[in-house]
Point group: C2
Chain length 412, copies 2
């Protein structure tokens, strides 16, 4: 497959990620599937590191997802191995063995137990993975470990991604500054529950695993779980949050709602949102970033379902690709969502201009600003369904010839 | 918009439709939206005609759908007006008035009550309809009524369709031969509940409306409600079945299950299936007709949901467009369906060749026949999810550049 051009929606500026105390990493070329590029990432975490995770709800999860699901309840981790090119999904007993052997080799390299290693894989489904190649490169990876390898780490986990995704934030917990770094990959097979991607976030804050889990789950709900590229839900979705506890001071916390965590929570959510937006901006074939805000639904859950139905509608997405403010297709999508909506109160705005209200088009609205808005890179749609106070916002991208190009030819 | 090339999946042979006693029709050029083609169909039914219908479950139904829903309980009809180009959806009070005025004019022409007129519209959503143009042409249409206008009728209701859709069957009710004719339109915005399209079926059998309704609902479930082009659910879906009762003899029936109706039921279902297949074969941009059979599900309903999730997956559809037997994406789609499935028992066959079994690929299966099958026009996928005895079959088409071409540019 020839290299894809970088998404026109790629961020123009990428912030450099500072080291996070207690975390080192290395990227190696194992040749699991790709040639001439690094495809295995090893991360090492200091003793005492806590971990939380959110995993795909797809019922055909990959072996690494099974592995993480079994290990997460311990709440601790010392290492992470990620490989790109083969997802190790639908690979039966061989896939389970691939996980066990990889974890064993990583544990030997890092001097910990295999159960303290987290795993993630991304790439083709159903091909037995040549895990020996990963196992073989881990000793050399161990020798390469360093704290400033974030840029390489983000590039190593890419598959059809056209740019590496990373973000960093500083937060403050009772006067102690901590760093939060994150990387992500994802471009196709992106849908909620969870958004189809991998993301690894590391902070040097000292936080117990249960608190970490609550903060992560909340943050994911409004970031990775609020984006969709193509409605397809990956078998490998994995978001892991590691806290090395190497920040300058520990604090006693009264649960995830402790006011001392307010800044950390805000910054973490902001970082997760940033990464999720980067994933949508790299949606396969995307030329427009689309924000869909639904108000007036029966509940927040209903609002999200309606917003996702609009976001996943091929007819809505192709209309936007064609720069056509075809809001009739938005009406159709609201109606197919299965959620309560009042046709005769439905209102739609595009780019801030009301185009439909009270169940029909706004007579004589100014089409010029709407047309201009549709030609831009970022499309803004607001829908009020007129039945309650539930609201939700989701993000997606348009459906273009580029998506067909990429996906009619991925495995070949 | 330039005319689209005829679908490569179009049937090579079209059967001529014989007249149905008690039914006459006329097609006129009203210029509601299209220029230089007929866009309004008027059908007249003999006194005593019964009617049944299945309407969209989309919660933003068009005004004609509201109209039919209110009229169907009477079980009788004397006329039908269909127009193409404007769907009269999301048009508020104006849309309601358009229906009332159209029915009034048709009733005046046919000499019946407005409540005896059924209505259907297809085309753009959200534009107030110039119903005066329809009203104005109805007297001339009345003068044109004839029994052999089926070919024109099928062509008149087309929008993005690339070929006219019709089918006919002969059935036998206790020795009395009856005719069943049907026409349909639909190409995009095709999804279940119900498949996004219009279809009108007429028989000269004499059947009470409740029996007609049961037969139609059953038939639609395995035909129009078992096909999907793009997962988008129309606001205008309408299937109407008229029985003029002009067949040579009436019979007393013991409900829809009466053995005397066995042949009629079979032929009706066969005709509905034929029409539904024609709709999928004309799916926007379609180059492959895809049959997806799911076995081993927890229930028939679960099987259908799984089959539809596979059929609606953009990744599955683009892989097939690329003639790639990427069954990993089928695994993904099964997993995202939300229905019970056993990963470690999952089996997939493509073109009759088992490619995956017991939760992993079949080692060393012969790829040659699978590759050859993928290059054909008709793709056959069978999935066993290993948990029960529920089964269902659905049909869809691939997702191609043609779909993007058509839908990024429809309204312009």
């Amino acid at each position: 497959m020839k290299p894809l051009p970088v998404s026109p929606l790629a961020p123009t500026h990428t912030q450099a990620l500072p080291p996070v105390p207690g975390c080192r990493m290395a990227a190696r070329e194992a040749g699991v599937r790709y040639k001439g590029r690094r495809d295995v990432l090893l991360m090492e975490f200091a003793a005492g590191t806590t971990v939380a995770g959110v995993l795909t709800r797809n019922q055909m999860p990959g072996a690494p997802v099974d592995w993480c699901r079994a290990r997460l309840p311990s709440g601790t981790a010392r290492g992470l191995v990620v490989n790109a090119g083969n997802a190790n999904v639908f690979t039966g007993a061989h896939g389970t063995k691939a996980c066990a052997e990889t974890a064993k080799a990583a544990a030997a390299a890092l001097g910990c137990a295999p159960e303290e290693i987290m795993l993630a894989s991304t790439g083709v489904i159903g091909e037995p993975m040549r895990y020996e190649r990963i196992v073989d490169c881990l000793p050399a990876a161990k020798a390469d470990l360093r704290g400033d390898g974030w840029r390489d780490a983000a590039a190593t986990i890419m598959t059809t991604d056209t740019f590496a995704k990373s973000a960093t934030r500083m937060a403050n917990i009772r006067g102690v500054p901590v760093t939060i770094n994150g990387i992500a990959k994802g471009s196709g097979m992106i849908a909620p529950d969870m958004a189809t991607m991998l993301s690894f976030v590391v902070t040097d804050a000292a936080l117990p695993a249960p608190i970490l889990q609550t903060l992560l789950s909340r943050g994911v709900n409004r970031s990775f779980n609020a984006v969709t590229v193509d409605s397809d839900q990956s078998t490998s979705d994995t978001v892991l949050l590691f806290a090395t506890g190497q920040g300058r001071a520990h604090v006693t916390l009264d649960g995830p709602g402790d006011p001392a965590l307010r800044d950390f929570r805000t910054k973490l959510e902001d970082l997760l949102h940033d990464l999720a937006m980067q994933v949508v901006r790299d949606g396969e074939g995307a030329t427009k970033l689309i924000r869909i805000a639904v108000n007036g639904a029966a509940s927040e859950r209903a609002a999200k379902r309606i917003a996702m139905t609009i976001a996943d509608s091929p007819l809505v997405k192709t209309a936007i690709a064609g720069e056509d403010a075809n809001w009739g297709r938005i009406v159709m999508a609201v109606g197919k969502s299965g959620q309560k909506a009042d046709r005769d109160k439905l209102a739609i705005s595009i780019g801030g201009v009301a185009v439909a209200r009270d169940g029909m088009r706004v007579e004589g609205y100014d089409e010029a600003p709407v047309t201009a808005h549709m030609k831009g890179r970022e499309i803004d749609i607001e829908v009020d369904v007129g039945v309650g106070r539930g609201r939700a916002t989701v993000w997606t991208c348009d459906l273009t010839h580029g998506y067909i190009d990429i996906n009619a030819d991925y495995r070949s």
